[in-house]
């Protein structure tokens, strides 16, 4: 955790309204938050993140805990805002979306899957996750891997028991390995994350 070294001092400075301290806290947490939110709400990630930041700043004087606790609270707040966003969006008619083409793997011999995946960016990785896992598993994986939160805190955030989080995470990783290990390798073919091949 970035600000963990002197989090109490940083928190104190933030409570005083020290701009540098606020900016530092933001710098430390915003990339993870944004990454997770991009997976959750896409283009609305920035807006939702801003709402979460303002909300946590309003409650900063009541917060007690360490850097990890702060991050956990930030993601908890962000998740609520995500739910709000989804509720709002659900009231509007959604535009139909095409099935996602994740990436194209060229026939390059054995080990190509791993090589190809090593080149994908974070956005692609999120799309692969979303194509293979159900939404709750995606969320758990994001909170575990991107937010770097322990299973106990992820459980708090998503409303499951820590054991349930571990089980889902376990199954998610195996499902990923299963799907990615079966990725067909064919020149000029589009491959969906679930392993289905579609002609280009």
């Amino acid at each position: 955790v970035g600000a963990a070294d002197d989090f109490p001092g940083l928190l104190k400075a933030v409570r005083r309204g020290d701009p540098e301290a606020v900016a530092r806290l933001y710098r430390d947490e915003q990339p993870r938050l944004l990454r997770v939110l991009q997976a959750e709400v896409g283009d609305a990630a920035e807006d939702v993140a801003s709402q979460a930041w303002l909300e946590i700043m309003r409650a900063i004087d009541k917060f007690e805990g360490d850097a990890r606790g702060f991050r956990s609270l930030l993601f908890t707040i962000a998740r609520r805002r995500v739910n709000d966003h989804r509720r709002r969006r659900s009231r509007r008619p959604a535009a139909p979306t095409e099935p996602m083409e994740l990436y194209v793997v060229h026939d390059a011999g054995p080990g190509v899957e791993s090589e190809a995946l090593s080149r994908v960016g974070a956005d692609d990785a999120i799309e692969i996750l979303q194509g293979i896992l159900d939404p709750q598993d995606v969320e758990i994986m994001l909170l575990r891997v991107v937010a770097d939160l322990p299973a106990e805190e992820v459980a708090e955030i998503v409303g499951l028991s820590p054991g349930a989080v571990r089980v889902r995470q376990h199954r998610a990783v195996k499902r990923l390995a299963t799907a990615l290990g079966r990725l067909p390798v064919a020149s000029s073919n589009s491959v969906t994350p679930s392993g289905d091949r579609r002609e280009a």
Binding site: V14, R15, R16, G17, P19, V22, A23, Y26, R27, Q30, P31, R32, L34, R35, S50, W53, L54, M57, R58, I60, D61, E113, S114, L117, S118, V120, G121, A122, D124, A125, I126, I128, L129, M141, L142, R144, V145, V146, D148, A151, R166, V167, Q169, H170, R171, V173, K174, L176, A177, T178, L180, G181
Partner: protein, 273 residues
């Protein structure tokens, strides 16, 4: 910003959860998953500085330090001061402060044109005696000993029966203060509102002289001048008849400008203004 350990940690967690393994017959290439998770955890976005506007918004959202506590302390202090001032004024007006203090208060108040009793003398026109309970019966507002403790007819204080017998009711308090002037808020120190008012309970009138104890006398129709119409007026509080054991006579004679019932079951005190 990448955390290469994260992806390995996830896989490591996975390996210890054999009990929930649904894929025992599958060979996994965890390296692929690790690469994916590695890509996921890559946080190299250079643009993670808050904009100046948003930074200002965040700072503005931070509550001022300890503001609520300070406000609470301020309210408590002001409230306390007001209560003390009110109590002190009441005591001074009542003449129940210690004599030197009362004298000082008298002098100060006199300088500003307010008349409060001097500690060295009884309150002006104080009725009743100071020598014991049960004095201060008013000729004008006699109690009705034969009708003890009848509940008041709400709103008719002039007929309000006294509360159950109040031993030591009907006269002036032990300190000679006139009864029948203290509202419920001040059951003991009488005379706060109008030191000239007569005894409460059994001795209600302004000229009442407490000479005989009407202790235990339920005081009905104690004062025809009482503000009627207050359903609480008079001795209608049947529970209040016990009186104040510490007070005697009219010390328990209560009443106030509202003609409210007294805590001691008096017909009421009286404010004849």
């Amino acid at each position: 910003m990448s955390d290469p350990m994260s992806s390995h940690r996830i896989v490591d967690d996975l390996l210890v959860l054999d009990a929930v393994d649904d894929f025992d017959d599958v060979e996994f290439d965890y390296a692929v998953v690790e690469d994916l998770l590695q890509a996921l955890a890559e946080l190299d976005d250079p643009d993670n500085e808050p904009s100046p506007v948003f930074l200002a918004e965040m700072i503005a959202a931070i509550p001022a330090p300890a503001t609520p506590a300070r406000r609470g302390v301020r309210i408590a202090v002001v409230s306390g001061a007001l209560v003390l001032a009110a109590a002190g004024s009441a005591a001074a007006a009542n003449g129940s402060l210690p004599a030197p203090v009362q004298s000082a208060a008298h002098a100060v108040a006199r300088a500003v044109g307010v008349d409060i009793p001097d500690g060295r003398q009884g309150p002006p026109e104080s009725s009743g005696s100071q020598d014991g309970p049960g004095h201060g019966r008013s000729d004008e507002a006699p109690g009705r000993p034969d009708d003890p403790g009848q509940p008041a007819d709400p709103g008719r204080s002039d007929e309000a029966p006294g509360a159950p017998a109040d031993p030591g009711s009907g006269g002036v308090g032990p300190d000679g203060t006139p009864p029948g002037q203290i509202g419920n808020e001040h059951p003991d120190p009488p005379g706060i509102d109008n030191p000239n008012a007569g005894g409460g309970g059994g001795g209600g009138g302004p000229e009442s002289q407490g000479e005989e104890s009407t202790g235990g006398t339920p005081t009905t129709e104690s004062n025809p001048d009482t503000d009627g119409g207050n359903p609480n007026a008079g001795g209608g509080n049947p529970n209040a008849g016990g009186g104040n054991p510490n007070a005697s006579g009219g010390a328990n004679g209560n009443g106030n400008h509202n003609g409210n019932a007294t805590a001691n079951g008096r017909a009421n005190g009286h404010i004849d203004d």
